[in-house]
Symmetry: C2
Subunit: 137 residues, 2 copies
DNA sequence: CATAAAAGGATATAAAATGTCTTTTTAGGG
DNA sequence: CCCTAAAAAGACATTTTATATCCTTTTATG
């Protein structure tokens, strides 16, 4: 349970790599894919999703590729994960009240709400800046 | 991402219901299933898992059924969820260091560790006692 | 207009989730 | 000792989700 999919894992790898590159340098998808060891066609889909919401900017044609859409310190891990995995929903009943017929009498409901809040909190506190700079030791 | 499966949802419903019953009263699986609106055959599998680790006790034959294996206040939501969903692993790399080839250089690793800790913390803090007593207003 | 590269759409395969069915084991009661 | 009740165990079926791949289209550059 609670497991990040490959897609999410690849998404993070890809955009973190992009964050390590100078923002004025356009990167080929194929180069990114090779660098982070992800199937290029799969990463393409992921970056298309990023592009739609502005996490990255794309350029077509010769000399095209991708750059980060915003500064690394302004992009949170939460945004990245939710961009490809959808919203973080530990239980259906948390997504909308109507989904939880028993919401009135259900004591479990607030627990999942708390789980959701905690997870989002942790992921929101981390930015691409921190993830892309080697700050261990 | 991060979504509890039906199995987990059913597991909680079933055992919470059992916790509302007097501990000396043996409950039929079919009755529990009907009460919490879960396919009986599916719930059977779930309760078999519970039984193996002692969360519930089972009795076969005439007059058989299930009772809670321990007191409601000693069983946490975490135990229930992990009993049927397996350990809470937000990312493969958290389960064992060897799974994360990049663990040395990977800044994301500690974040998933934190997510895991937070989620486990929330679920561990909740017992069947609290879940089975109507304490809202 | 030829080429490079991303975007979009359709399709394929594998794995996991969600059940169901049948048979076996265990226990109780007459 | 049989008959019945109930859980345990195992095999199977279906649906959904994950994990890609391939082909065509659009867009930009030289």
């Amino acid at each position: 349970m609670m497991e990040l999919t490959r897609k999410g894992e690849y998404a993070i790898r890809g955009i973190v790599y992009l964050a390590t590159r100078p923002m004025d340098k356009v990167c080929l998808l194929s180069d990114i894919a090779a660098a982070v060891d992800v199937p290029p066609t799969f990463l393409a889909k992921i970056f298309q999703q990023f592009s739609k919401i502005g996490l990255v900017r794309s350029f077509r044609g010769t000399g095209g590729g991708f750059v980060l859409g915003r500064s690394p310190e302004s992009i949170t891990l939460l945004e990245v994960v939710e961009a490809v995995e959808g919203p973080i929903i530990p239980n259906r009943c948390v997504s909308s009240p109507s989904n939880c017929e028993r919401s009135g009498l259900c004591n479990v409901h607030p627990v999942w709400q708390r789980v959701q809040d905690e997870v989002r909190g942790v992921l929101q506190a981390v930015t691409l800046k921190e993830l892309s700079t080697q700050n261990k030791r």
